[in-house]
Amino acid sequence: MMIFGYIDPGTGSLFLQAIIGVLLGGIVVFRNIIGRAIYKLRTVFRQNTDDNEEES
């Protein structure tokens, strides 16, 4: 949706936002996925270590 303000945003600036927005937004999503995966791996690893310690 386009809503115009009292200053000219510049067509090139609007297009660039769409492109780098996808790029930077994608990086944020990717980082979040990796972050969550590492967190999960750590949790699983910790659980395994705790189980091993209990067994011994």
Partner: protein
Amino acid sequence: MDLQHTSFRDPAGQVFRDQKGRVFRQINQAGAEDFDLLLSSGLYDVLTQRHFMVSHKLVRGETRDKLVGPDAYQLIQPQKIPFVSYPFEWSFSQLRDAALLTLRIQLAALEHGMTLKDASAYNVQFLDGKPIFIDTLSFEAYHDGTPWQAYRQFCQHFLAPLSLMAYTDQNLSQLLRVHLDGIPLDLAARLLPARARLRMGVLMHIVWHARSQRAKASEHKASTVSVRQRNLKAILLDLEHTITKLKPRVQQTEWADYYHNTNYSSAATDAKAKLIKTMLKTIKPKTAVDLGGNNGHYSRLLSRQKIPVVCTDIDPNAVEANYRGSKKAKDTNMLPLVVDLTNPGGALGWQNTEREAVHERLQTDLVMALALVHHLAISNNLPFGMIARYFSQFAPYLIIEFVPKDDSQVQKLLATRKDIFPDYHEDGLEVAFDEYYRLVEKSKIRGTKRTLYLFKRKAV
């Protein structure tokens, strides 16, 4: 009623000053909806509680009726800003802090269903040592998918000058004096060295941005570009990250190490400070401006007594050192500014009235000019009479240090040029200043050949 000549672009409202010098902002019918949303969304409370934006009070009754025009919706009186300064007068860290404030406000606005419709550096001022947003009417309702209308303006006003100051030369902030709506991105891209492109943020927001503008320059139709809020926030965070990582380019200047290269002994420095303190007791100033104050060494005699002082200097390194030092010491009464007294900024823009001259903005009780007069009179060939007239436009009191010809600093200035200054002596100064000032006190600075004067401006 004096309409501010800076306030004519946005139809949502305008700023004006009344006869008592009080500043008001009229909100027009065109800005009513967004103004109400600013208050009802809770954004105004968040921003004012964090001291991100000036607070205001609603003006009602007779005062309102007397001041407002036919299109008025509301009249507000914003919190007072004692000294108005402009972005080309700020050091690197001052401009960076103003940029980060603008981004944080935009992020907070998005959280409250609003967005900044402009991102001009002139919407930021310094209050109590910190940047503060002054334009209550810069906010409008945000609609999901809308790109940031002020993205280009933000890059021109903040990112471009900061990148140039970081990678090329700190003095390039002066380009903001020529380009009042920010440094054009194609110009910034051309002036940046190749290594600046290694920083992803600079590459994207300046170099690619300039290319994108060039590529779309001939398109004048409304494009249906959509940017999801999540992606818009990622752009804002990337701008914040890029700006935080920029550091001012270290430059060796004549003034950067001034207090180490001076011919003053520490005893003489103390004697000068003591004399100034005695004079301050006579004047009891409420505000002051220290012209050519370098890193603020003597301005602190005032700011430590809780007297708001503007310390100007020509050297951006000295002003940067002053700002950082004052910030670290939590000195809220110091405002350092980059000002070249031989070519001060202001009287710029539409009809030369959009941005006021320095002496109009820095009206104080006292002007200090310490170890400055020889630079003006000898290095810049300014007659004493013209210096006296200019200083008298700032304040009723003047503390001025005279540096005689046999002082080693003046001898350095005369070493490679003809001495065309027969009137450059104490009597010459006193005669010239007598046209504008009455001599109150005159003292020799112990351990030096210099003299400290206290003058009071004559009634016009």
